[in-house]
């Protein structure tokens, strides 16, 4: 049997092409930034990763609220897929941050609002996925994932605020754009959109996979009403 072509692959391919173009610009066209040197080029991945991690987890938050009310398995699958991608991006974010901080500041880790927030984000949402695996049935799995996603998401700005407010940060202040070249913008924006498309693509793939898993392990459609010997619907009880 020929497998059907899933349309989300188009999004994935476009994302990959854009990422390739953006990275080519970032690595070979844009001049090295004077005070960070070559390692500064990691920004072209780091900044889009940060944007998209937050964007995708915001999407998860919205999906979670929706799933809690409509209880649709497809929403549960999309929610879980997006949290998984969010966790992946956040993990990338933390790793990239460390890779950049080591040569630049001579440290892997420090007390910095964005660093701490990213780390907490990573642990909190990894916890959501882990809780999911402990649920007893599909309905519970949906409710747990949605509730934990909502609760964890609300925590993010509070963590950011409190860590930022307590002094001692090393993080760069928002460093764009205006003073830099067109190529710089182009590379950054291409990568940002590429990461978003790839995120959407992976979310779709995961959601599809989760739905397939559900279908494999879960119930077939509920059998309809029981019929009596004459083929009429059986109704228990007394009406009068």
């Amino acid at each position: 049997m020929k497998r059907a072509f899933d349309k989300e692959h188009i999004i994935g391919v476009i994302g990959l092409l854009m990422l390739a173009y953006g990275c080519w610009k970032a690595l070979f066209v844009v001049p090295a930034m004077n005070h960070f040197g070559e390692v500064g080029r990691i920004f072209f991945m780091h900044v889009p990763t940060a944007w998209n991690a937050l964007l995708i987890l915001t999407g998860s938050f919205i999906l979670a609220i929706g799933a809690l009310f409509n209880r649709k398995p497809s929403w549960d699958a999309a929610l879980t897929g997006s949290v998984e991608v969010g966790v992946l991006y956040t993990a990338l974010l933390v790793v990239q941050g460390s890779i950049w901080a080591r040569p630049t500041f001579g440290i892997w880790w420090t007390w910095d609002p964005r660093l701490i927030t990213a780390a907490i984000l990573l642990i909190a949402f990894a916890g959501v996925l882990s809780a999911r695996s402990f649920a007893n049935n599909q309905g519970q799995r949906l409710r747990w994932t949605a509730v934990a996603t909502i609760v964890a998401y609300i925590d993010v700005p509070i963590v950011y605020f409190i860590v930022k407010w307590l002094p001692r940060g090393i993080h760069q202040p928002h460093s764009f754009p205006s003073t830099v070249s067109t190529d710089y913008h182009l590379a950054l924006r291409f990568n940002a959109i590429a990461m978003l498309l790839l995120g959407i693509w992976m979310t779709f793939r995961r959601a599809r996979w989760i739905l397939q898993q559900n279908a494999a392990t879960a119930m077939s459609a509920a059998p309809g009403a029981a019929l009596d010997a004459e083929g009429r619907t059986m109704v228990a009880g007394v009406e009068e």
């Binding site: 509920a222 009403a225 109704v235 228990a236 009880g237």
Partner: protein, 233 residues
């Protein structure tokens, strides 16, 4: 309108656990003041169905109406007239019998009333045990205490899941009397049991479940014969 609404109305009700349907395709209409005898082998879905009717379990499919109200619209309003007795007695082990009753009373919005509670304990055969903790009770005594709580709630719809279970012979007589009394008071009653000959004569209609499916419906008095036929064809 409310007068014509059945006390319980289920349409194609279904509920699954994991990868199997515990009950499915349940159609049921029970008028106010009528009673239903629920029978079926172990694991046939009797408890699941009763918990669905009690609205503590959400159906995966189908619709339930309690006195014309949809539990998904207003869970609290639909729940108020229902009481459910299960094999888990839902007691606080570290509280005394009286305290367990008082907790329910307060949550029902009733004023704590020790005299009423003591009278209820007497009625279920637990006189003199009011100050004892639930932990010290035997299974049968716990069941009696659970009955007292139902009487305290005084609901319009009473769902009894194996009310005879764990009781001694005097307890059997107690349940018989109670069922009779609830019927006289015009309560709507659903009772599941394996003691078919005991329960059948006093109830209106019957339903046999097999593997979560409705296998037989008819008058309760015909149920014991039908049950023998259904389970050993």
């Amino acid at each position: 309108m409310a007068a014509t609404c059945p006390a319980l109305e289920a349409t194609n009700l279904a509920r699954g656990y994991g990868d199997r349907w515990a009950v499915s395709g349940i159609n049921l209409r029970l008028a106010t003041g009528r009673s239903l005898l629920l029978a079926g082998p172990n694991g046939s879905g009797k408890t699941t169905l009763l918990r669905l009717l009690a609205t503590t379990l959400q159906p995966n499919e189908g619709r339930l109406q309690v006195l014309g109200k949809n539990p998904t619209d207003d869970a609290m309003a639909a729940r108020r007239p229902i009481a459910l007795l299960t094999h888990r007695t839902q007691l606080y082990n570290e509280l005394t019998a009286l305290e367990n009753l008082e907790v329910s009373a307060r949550l029902l919005g009733l004023k704590p009333d020790k005299q009423r509670s003591t009278a209820l304990l007497e009625r279920v055969g637990l006189s003199g045990r009011g100050q004892h903790r639930a932990r010290t009770f035997s299974a049968g005594m716990r069941k009696r205490l659970a009955f007292a709580r139902i009487l305290l709630q005084d609901p319009q719809i009473v769902l009894l899941d194996e009310p005879y279970g764990q009781l001694d012979p005097s307890g059997f007589g107690f349940v018989d009397k109670l069922v009779e009394e609830l019927r006289r008071q015009g309560k709507t009653l659903v009772l599941s049991t394996h003691l078919l000959d005991r329960a059948a004569p006093t109830l209106d209609s019957g339903l046999i479940l097999k593997g979560g499916r409705m296998a037989w419906v008819g008058p309760a008095r015909d149920l014991p014969a039908a049950y023998a036929h259904e389970t050993h064809p």
